[in-house]
Amino acid sequence: MLVALAGNPNTGKSTIFNALTGMKQHVGNWPGVTVEKKEGEMEINGTRVKVVDLPGTYSLTAYSMEEIITRNFIIEEKPDVIVDIIDASNLERNLYLLTELLELHSKIIVVLNMFDEAEKKYSIDVAKMSRILGLPVVPAVGIRGKGIDELKEKILRGKFNPKKVEYPEDVEKRIEKIEEKIRKLGFEPARWYAIKVIENDVEVVKKIKDKGARDILHLAEHLRHEIEDIYGDDIESVMTSFRYSFAHGLFHEVAEPINVGGVTITDMLDHVITHKIFGIPIFLAIMYLSFQFVFLVAAPFQDAIDLLFNGKGTVSGHIPGLVDLSYNWMVTFMPDWLSSFINHGMLRGLGAVLTFTPVIMLLFLILSFLEDSGYLARVAFLMDSIMKKMGLEGRGIIPLMLGFGCNVPAVMATRTLKDEKERKLSIALNPLIPCGARIQVFAFLSSIFFPSNPALVLWSLLILSMVVVFVLGFIYSKTIFRGRSEPFVLELPPYRMPTMKGISIHMWEKSEGFLRKAGTIIVGAAAIIWIFAALPWGVKYGSPDSYIGMFAQWIAPIGTAFGLTPQAIISLIFGFFAKEVVIDVLYVLFGSKDAILASMTWAQAYSFMLFMLFYTPCVATIATIYNETKSKKFTLFVILEGFILAALFSFTFYTIVTLLGVGA
């Protein structure tokens, strides 16, 4: 049995989905797009039921990806039952989607979610509503699991005798004319197709055109003009008005307002949170505290995982980690190179993947809290006019800020952007934000090469990255990522207390996805790097005699144009694996701070940092970008973009400084 969940955004759809399926769910993408698809399974009295969570939509037009996915799923997959999750405290608008669903499907169960909240606004006559609609209506409070058993019961044994959404006589008779012809084409549901072709729905018109039934299109156009003449407005306004008046009428039939007016808690909170003067400082404070929390709490876990895998060098010698111990053990029964490959290559890679997990889990804990509480929508409201200039909606600031922590969760967080183009734009910009690891390397190098003012040097790099992100965002939004595919209509839901359960499921989804998918790519890349750093057999790992070293020396003549020394190139190659490793590599190659200082001029050092600021994202970020977009072309584009910027800035800087003769 197949059940599909439909509903507006912010109606607690995923809470109901989680309550139905528990942990038995699979998160992926709808084919060809970055819209998330969730599937799960449940068992009701021995019957296995597959549950699909459709994207949240306000209507079923052909103008948004989510809406097209939803309606195509219903037409093509023909679910046995559709569950329409309605925010009962916002009944009228939510009922509008129901009027559209009624034209597509006959077995719909209406779930009045957040029923407790709704009862404070009006009293709802559930029985009457069920009678009028001819459908099962289930009041529910998803976060407390109320109404779930009744919903399951109705999925199995509900009685459906749905009422038709009727249009006025002069519209109905025109729908019927088309419906007859559509039925001959074999399109079902014929009434829905008929209504949509009269409404001039682009997708449906195309489908009919593909069948060669031009007579239907001509007739529809003729009928459309007749209706527009009768009602004196465009067809979309006219038809939407009829459906809305059905929703409006139903709403007033079943809901009796308890009190109107009065100040709500949400209104009071918004008065402060979106305040003209306090709004922005409050936003910055919340972001600062969130990041502090994440990185403070994550750091000890990351250190512990690092210690566990890689051990620690101390004054009295090296404390062996899992990698060393396992290597020493395996080498007793297998060749040295194999043990080294398994442990120094793959196991170390696994360690790198695991050190990312605490940050990802905590960031998504905070992010889900902000999203579920309703604050994220306010961020969008506050920041929109700034972010608009770089082609993003207000929410786009969140992934960019997260980027300063780590680009991996930041790229994953672009899912909060609903628009496909904006998501890609945001992902393309994100790696240009220096993550914590790069900032750490910059701080280290600045303190060596610019001891008098390291902070200023660090700031110059941060400011440069922000300027580049802003300018590039502006250019991209006018060129390759031009134009939102959808208008920016943002709902500001009431503030709600998030539930621990909802947040932890969200957190688990994200971390599990990262571990499983991105993790494989990272471990693989670690193995490949090992091969190039350890071969030909017998050389010192990563030394100039290894393949990586040879490559660095081969490319060195080109590197000089950018102020890069061969050792700097080697460290950059390892930095591709994880940016913070650059420091370790320099230490391994030179042995001391003084030797590092002696290896480069200040101009070469700054050029090196400029290059590192932008060149390719690390393996984990690349794996995440690919995982989120499923596009090799796009992933390659991001890598190239980084190299071009890196080359551009380091070359320009180094050339100017050399020409001025102040580089030495």
Binding site: R93, Y244, S485
Partner: protein, 143 residues
Amino acid sequence: MLLSELRPGEYGIVKKIGGSGAIHRRLLSMGLLPGAIVRVVRISPFGDPIEYEIRGFFISLRKQEAANVEVDKIVPLSLVPGNSDVRVIFIDGGVGFVQNMGAMGIAVGKILKVIKPCCPMQVQTERGIFTVGRGMAYRVFVR
């Protein structure tokens, strides 16, 4: 006037939804339809976007999008000062509420005179002088 020109706290009744394609459709499916009542809640600190209340929920629209909506400015009866004549434009409620108001002579298109704005509000209609509760006056829109 355009929806984007209303100021915070003001009300409008939608006359026509302009624009085309996605924006036209999206505004309609959010319930912005001819005859719908919109209230301007607040403006973002940087002047854009603007938060609106419509049909009991809250959305924010960019100015350029709100400029697709033509409105007439209206006022809920509860905010009308004393001693002024107004015309009823819209009554927000079910059949029962509209009938109750009608019995007092408050119906769409009728002219009312607010005698005393507060506590309780008294209005003169063609059927006489009536006392209107705050909750009711809040749902009657006039111009």
